[in-house]
């Protein structure tokens, strides 16, 4: 689904690389959680995968263009922005060139947000907003879901619901998931693989390998 080879990235060309020779192969149908300390380059790697940033060196090969992105929070999010859940889904649907208003209802139903379709996004809780972003990402029937810290600013109940939706998509529909995670428990519970970034280098583990390594430590 995704192949990264010899990837180097730095925000400042004169400094040391934030991401230093990253290599990663994400198999189709897997659920990879990217973990690491704050500022290690987890979110940067996601932005590189999405094409939001360009690598200094190396290649990123994506074997699908059906990608759904669920942000941690919209950059510069304005909770007073006058837009309803339906309107937000509509503009995304039209950007993808898809038709059919009913699609909104069926997708909102999948994430348990149908009754909020006419609510302003500013009136939603963190968890509800995250579910709406999942709904938006599902519109293009993605083969790859990319998430940036899905449980940040979300209550425990909503966290459970969000992970259950994502895991369901991964297990039942074979959607490949790449998720930046600060919540190690959630990563171990839901993922098939863990990609640990440390000092600019990254290593891919299966969940069992990673759990065993943690127990040794």
């Amino acid at each position: 689904m995704l192949e990264i080879e010899n990837l180097y990235f730095s925000y400042n060309r004169s400094s040391t690389y934030l991401l230093n020779d990253i290599n990663l192969k994400v198999p189709k149908g897997s659920y990879v959680s990217i973990v690491g300390d704050n500022g290690c380059g987890k979110s940067t790697l996601v932005k590189l995968i999405l094409g939001e940033k360009k690598p200094l060196k190396g290649t990123i090969k994506l074997y699908t263009n059906r990608i759904g992105y669920i942000p941690q929070r919209v950059e510069g999010f304005n909770p007073q922005f006058p837009i309803t859940v339906s309107e937000m889904l509509n503009v995304h649907r039209k950007a993808l060139g898809m038709k059919g208003l009913r699609l909104n209802d069926s997708i909102l139903e999948k994430v348990g947000m149908k009754e909020y379709k006419n609510s302003l996004i500013g009136n939603l809780s963190g968890g509800q907003l995250q579910k709406v972003f999942i709904a938006r990402a599902l519109m293009g029937q993605p083969e790859l879901l990319v998430l940036d810290e899905p449980s940040t600013a979300v209550d425990v109940q909503s966290q459970r619901e969000i992970y259950s939706i994502i895991k369901g998509l991964n297990k039942d529909f074979g959607v490949t998931v790449i998720s930046v995670e600060h919540n190690l428990n959630a990563a171990l519970l839901n993922s098939t693989h863990i990609f640990k970034i440390e000092n600019g280098k990254g290593i891919l583990f299966s969940v069992d390998e990673y759990t065993a390594m943690l127990q040794e430590v």
């Binding site: 990608i67 942000p71 510069g76 304005n78 309107e87 509509n90 503009v91 039209k94 950007a95 993808l96």
Partner: protein
């Protein structure tokens, strides 16, 4: 009062403006560029001064210079992502600097008052046609870009990932804003222009509705402001510019008070 042709023309111009200006203003407010009307009106002013200095048609030079200023504002966003208002001040400084320098050199004489307050009562048939053409072009462009503009304004990163050419959309929008303002500055004046772009949207945002409804209410408030201001100015024998601006703020206060006492529990 509408037996006079100047009042009929003023009314028609007001109608057209009350549709176009809040439609553009909606995106400007949400992009945190509320002061852009001021900036681009001054750019238009500088454009006229440059036109007179260089001996070319001032309307054309105003259009070109305002469009360039609009594009510059968009271009500078790369350097000041979180400071949209700062960019407006930079361009405003540039434009006022150019205008004052040229005028004070005595190279171009321009009636500052006409730019400040405009002259909606002297709208000629030709002016009306210019506004009509601008309306048709701008509204058509806005309708074609409507969803992309909403997406880009709300979530630029998400829009880019969804495949929208965000920069192109923003540049086209900047051109629409520049062209609209340069075409109507001499009629509207800086004061009315800014009030019509922004205040109806400010009132409408208080209603807590979705995008489409907020836009419709912005147009409705814009219509009330400009027509109300025009009629009141006729009866109190005052320049319409100031009265329209006052009416818009008055309507905004009524909406705020209504919201305070009736809409919010």
């Amino acid at each position: 009062m509408f037996q006079y042709s100047f009042m009929r023309n003023a009314l028609l111009a007001s109608l057209l403006i009350s549709i176009l200006y809040p439609s553009i203003g909606m995106f400007l407010v949400l992009k945190r560029q509320s002061m852009i009307g001021d900036t681009l009106s001054h750019a238009s002013f500088a454009g006229v001064a440059l036109g007179v200095l260089l001996g070319i048609n001032p309307i054309l030079s105003a259009f070109i210079f305002t469009s360039i200023a609009g594009l510059l504002i968009e271009g500078l966003r790369v350097y000041y992502k979180r400071y949209a208002e700062l960019i407006l001040v930079i361009i405003l400084t540039l434009c006022v600097g150019i205008a004052i320098t040229i005028i004070s050199m005595g190279k171009a004489s321009a009636n500052v008052n006409s730019f400040l307050f405009g002259s909606i009562l002297t709208v000629s048939d030709r002016d009306l046609l210019t506004i009509l053409v601008m309306n048709v072009i701008s509204i058509t462009a806005l309708m074609l870009l409507y969803n992309k503009l909403i997406y880009t304004t709300f979530d630029e990163e998400g829009a880019r990932i969804a495949g929208i050419k965000v920069k192109l959309v923003n540049y086209i929008f900047a051109l629409i804003v520049g062209a609209t303002i340069s075409a109507s500055i001499r009629i509207m004046g800086i004061l009315v222009l800014s009030s019509m772009l922004i205040i109806p949207v400010a009132a409408s945002l208080q209603l807590g509705k979705g995008f489409k409804q907020t836009l419709v209410f912005s147009i409705l408030f814009g219509f009330i402001d400009i027509i109300g201001g025009l009629i009141i100015s006729y009866y109190i024998n005052s320049a319409p510019g100031g009265v329209i601006a006052l009416t818009s703020v008055f309507v905004l206060f009524i909406v705020l008070l209504t919201r305070r006492f009736y809409l919010v529990p």
